[in-house]
């Protein structure tokens, strides 16, 4: 009987451990719809100064860079 009680006590205490409880951050993954990329569009057909080749990222970036430089007033003045 004494042995049985001791056995029960040992098993009962087995749950009282001190394991590390650390929150592990898990990076989520986008669950929404896919988006099209800006360079996959046709440049504006009417009245637009934008020029790039559809699907060509480099040409779109060249267009955007030219547009960015219009924010540089020194460049605008000296042109």
């Amino acid at each position: 009987m004494k042995k049985l009680l001791m056995l029960i006590a040992v098993f009962g205490l087995a749950a009282c451990g001190e394991p590390d409880q650390v929150v592990v951050y898990k990076q989520g993954k986008y669950q929404g719809k896919p988006d099209t990329r800006p360079w996959d569009n046709e440049p504006l057909a009417l009245g637009g100064s934008a020029k790039w080749t559809k699907g060509d990222r480099a040409s779109w970036e060249t267009q955007i860079k030219a547009r960015q430089m219009t924010q540089h007033e020194d460049k605008r003045i000296y042109q």
């Binding site: 951050y25 989520g28 669950q31 988006d35 800006p38 996959d40 440049p43 970036e61 547009r67 924010q71």
Partner: protein, 214 residues
């Protein structure tokens, strides 16, 4: 590779709110939602007043993206942080996480019910067909798909607000600062918040405890 960013020159911003108006008009942003706003410190103090225009800063490691329980955020190839409104549940976690207060929530009904989150899209629309009616209604105009830059930056009268590839606009700003004839003190903490008390020292680095459990 372009990485789209905004840069605000506190020396130039005159608090005209032209950027706010341009954003509202271009994207037909509903009443009560401000994707962009101008923040002024030392308002009314002569010589000490500084303003900056604030919206989503399209963080490289965006906190809104990290906390979203439904993972509705994504980052485009050119570094713009966007979200899918069809997935958004309007919980507001992104608002608490964002250091700039960029996420906005329309009042969707009675008793303070929140609608789906709305924020600056860098005028890049969202996950709908580019330049479609659905995209415009949900996210606003897609100017990047038209080969243009955000309306706020392009409309800024003093060019205090620059928008575009981080490398390019940083170069524009650097050249501007050199032309002004002032040094590196022109930007950064000191300009925005003042030099601090005379003789003030930066806080000492606390030694990191070794072997500490986190």
């Amino acid at each position: 590779m372009a990485r789209m960013k905004f840069l605000v020159d506190a020396e130039r911003c005159i608090e005209c709110n032209g950027c706010v108006t341009a954003c509202k008009q271009e994207n037909e942003v509903p009443w009560g939602v401000n994707r962009r706003r101008v923040v002024t410190i030392n308002d009314g103090v002569v010589g000490a007043e500084k303003s900056i225009s604030v919206a989503c800063m399209h963080c490289s490691d965006a906190p809104c993206m990290a906390v979203c329980p439904v993972d509705c955020f994504y980052r485009t190839d050119d570094g713009v942080v966007l979200h899918d409104k069809d997935l958004c549940i309007g919980c507001g976690y992104c608002f608490y996480a964002c250091p700039f207060g960029a996420p906005q929530f329309p009042q969707a009904g009675a008793f303070g019910l929140r609608g789906k989150m709305d924020k600056c899209t860098f005028c890049a629309g969202g996950p709908e067909t580019d330049k479609s009616e659905a995209e415009f209604k949900k996210y606003g105009r897609n100017r990047l798909a038209e080969g243009k830059l955000p309306a706020c930056a392009e409309m800024c009268s003093t060019k205090a607000l620059l928008g575009g590839d981080g490398d390019v606009i940083a170069d524009i700003y650097r050249e501007r600062v050199l032309r002004r004839g002032k040094g590196s003190e022109v930007w950064g903490w000191g300009t925005a918040y003042g030099p601090g008390k005379p003789g003030a020292q930066p806080p000492a680095q606390q030694p990191q405890p070794t072997g500490a459990r986190s």
